[in-house]
């Protein structure tokens, strides 16, 4: 700042001692909070880096596509990988349509009354149920009551209900972002409510629905407790290299459960294999997450209104 030629106006523009003290406090506060953020977020990089480094020797193509051997102490994780894909796929197929329609109901049809409030409360409660309680529910409802036994179907149904609230909320918010004036314009042109939703509202909110959906779907890959008791199995003898390994009524191996068992139940597993399994699971989840985030940023740049 240039000091003007006379003294008095200069006093207005330079910081007095009180202001300087305030600014110092502010900078200190910024540093403290920034430091807290660094402490929280730095482990993310440090841990991932450490895991990858320790896992490196075991991260080979044979590891990804091979079968477990010697009681999990050697070989690969192919059946577990495929099992996880099965679970993610089936639960997505079961849960996404219901979630989207429920979101449509809440945003387009529901009136502002006590019933709607109860529905919203139910959605929030579903989201808050701990995963082990979902496991108990899955066992009680599908394995026992519906007599499906432990299988992919039971596990998928359990995970589907677990991810349902996330899809509902995602759809609701995406639909809400579409301006109301578009709907009114369509109604005045003689379009029915569903026609308007189908031709105007949904197409313009698809990207907002898809992104959270990808994020939530890949979270199911990391779930252990619900699948542990409803469909996952320690070991399953499979032919090498096959894709369609499982039939829906069978049990399957799952990557999350596999990591749990080899790190806690099986002695003598080489360290690199443990780290490598963790890294593969992490990579699976983080890749989908990053993809979804990139998709969201791309969509934001392509606004239509």
């Amino acid at each position: 700042m240039n000091a003007p030629s006379t003294d008095e106006p200069a006093a207005l523009f330079t910081a007095g001692p009180l202001t300087r003290r305030k600014l110092r406090t502010q900078r200190l506060a910024g540093a403290v909070f920034g430091g807290m953020s660094v402490i929280i977020l730095a482990p993310l990089f440090a841990l991932i880096g450490y895991l990858v480094v320790r896992a490196w020797p075991a991260l080979t193509w044979e590891f990804l596509t091979g079968l477990p051997e010697k009681g999990m102490r050697a070989g690969g994780i192919w059946p577990a990988l495929i099992g996880t894909l099965y679970l993610v796929f089936f639960s997505l197929v079961l849960s996404a349509p219901v979630g989207v329609f429920a979101g449509i109901y809440l945003n387009e049809y529901a009136r502002d009354n006590w019933f709607t409030r109860i529905v919203n409360l139910a959605v929030v409660n579903l989201a808050g149920v701990p995963s082990i309680v979902y496991a108990l529910f899955g066992v009680g409802a599908f394995v026992i009551f519906a007599d499906l036994g432990k299988c992919i179907v039971s596990a998928s149904l359990t995970i589907a209900i677990m991810t349902l609230p996330a899809y509902i909320v995602a759809t609701k918010e995406a639909l809400n972002a579409v301006p109301h004036s578009f709907r009114v314009a369509c109604w005045n042109l003689g379009a029915s409510k569903w026609q308007t939703i189908r031709t105007m509202v949904l197409p313009n909110s698809i990207s907002g629905i898809l992104t959270p959906m990808i994020l939530d779907a890949c979270r199911t890959a990391g779930e252990t407790a619900p699948v542990m008791f409803t469909g996952a199995v320690f070991y399953k003898a499979i032919e090498a290299g096959e894709l369609l390994l499982y039939s829906p009524m069978e049990q399957c191996m799952a990557l999350s459960y596999h990591l749990f068992t080899i790190s806690t139940q099986v002695p003598g597993v080489p360290d690199e294999m443990l780290y490598a399994t963790a890294v593969v699971l992490l990579a699976f989840v983080l890749c989908f997450n990053s993809f979804a985030i990139v998709l969201r940023t791309y969509m934001r740049g392509k606004k239509k209104w």
């Binding site: 909070f33 993310l44 841990l47 429920a102 109901y105 701990p130 008791f229 990591l259």
Partner: protein, 339 residues
């Protein structure tokens, strides 16, 4: 004139329109029927959430009910630390130690996630903008994406040796280990809700403070934090609920020992003790325990109680997290009413 919206087109009330502009009656009837079907389907999906909440409660209760009916001794259940469901001669089902385990891990987790989560939220919303803020928010999202079993693995493989080396204790699987891991897991939810609460403070407050010459820090601690305090509390509470419900990470990192980490001495020494939480107990024992059918006279054999009591633990857990979520929700609604 009525307020009904009836779609069946049996009216003779339309004027004849030029061809190509209106489909014949058949098409209109089909469209009306499919509109009705779709609307019904949408409504059904809408209420599905209610159905599922009740189902969860019903099926868990169904499996655990015989225990409640036949062998539940409330005082012994909640106040005894003797959990010996597999003892041959003297089966006892006291969950005090389990509750203490859950509480201690949750406490440490909250001490990690609370301050750091709030600090991070304040930093992101007040001291950053543009691309830097977006990047930080993405990093927080990625932190949330790490699966709990991987966190458990990190506790086993990374924190365990660290604690053994630096605290010179024989076992690194303890309250501190699980607490820090679970705390890191809860940070994203605390940050995101706290950020929402901070952003909800009306711009007019900020503008008024700025107009009076307040610096950013003064605005934060005199205007924003007091105005957002309910939302910040809710953020911490939701983190707590998450911590209570966490299963895999605590299963792998607590050492899984029945133990109450407190006996009157200085509290922080106890963080190196191993404990067992409610969630881990269910997860560890559900796979081992057989489910037995009732005997011809309708009663269950004694061996069946272990299976049932695990479901009762589930109900207790459900109740605790439901309560915490409810309180947090009421707090948030309380702010909305004031706004």
């Amino acid at each position: 004139m009525s307020n009904t919206q009836d779609e069946s087109p049996k009216g003779s009330t339309e004027n004849a329109a030029p061809p190509g502009h209106q489909v014949g009656s058949v098409g209109r009837i089909c469209r009306a029927l499919s509109e009705r079907t779709v609307t019904a389907l949408i409504f059904l999906c809408g209420v599905s959430a209610i159905i599922f909440v009740f189902s969860i409660f019903y099926f868990v209760f169904r499996e655990g009910y015989p225990f409640i009916r036949d062998s539940l001794d409330l005082k012994g259940f909640f106040l005894s630390e003797e959990w010996y469901p597999t003892s041959e001669t003297n089966k006892r089902y006291g969950i005090l130690a389990l509750l203490a385990g859950s509480a201690s891990v949750t406490l440490v987790a909250t001490l990690v996630a609370g301050p750091f989560g709030l600090g991070c939220a304040i930093f992101i919303s007040q001291f950053c903008d543009g691309k830097f803020r977006e990047t930080l928010k993405i990093l927080v999202e990625l932190l949330a994406a790490i699966p709990s079993v991987v966190w458990g693995f990190i506790g086993l493989a990374v924190m365990n040796p660290l604690i053994i080396r630096f605290a010179e204790v024989p076992i690194g699987l303890c309250v501190l280990n699980a607490g820090v891991i679970v705390g890191l897991m809860c940070v994203p939810i605390t940050v995101s809700i706290a950020e929402d609460a901070i952003r909800a403070v009306p711009d007019t407050y900020l503008e008024a403070a700025e107009a009076m010459g307040a610096t950013r820090w003064q605005t934060i601690h005199r205007v924003i934090l007091p105005a957002a305090k309910s939302g910040l509390l809710a953020a911490v509470l939701l983190g707590v609920a998450r911590a209570v419900g966490e299963t895999m990470a605590v299963l792998m990192c607590t050492g899984h020992t029945i133990n109450i980490p407190f006996d009157g001495r200085l509290p922080f020494l106890h963080v190196f003790e191993s404990v067992r939480t409610l969630t881990a107990t269910i997860a560890a024992e559900l796979g081992e325990v057989p489910r037995l059918d009732p005997l011809p006279d309708g009663n269950y054999p004694v061996e069946a109680r272990h299976w049932q009591v695990l479901f009762v633990l589930g109900i207790v857990l459900f109740a605790i997290t439901f309560l915490i979520n409810l309180i947090a929700d009421l707090i948030v609604k309380g702010i909305r009413k004031k706004a």
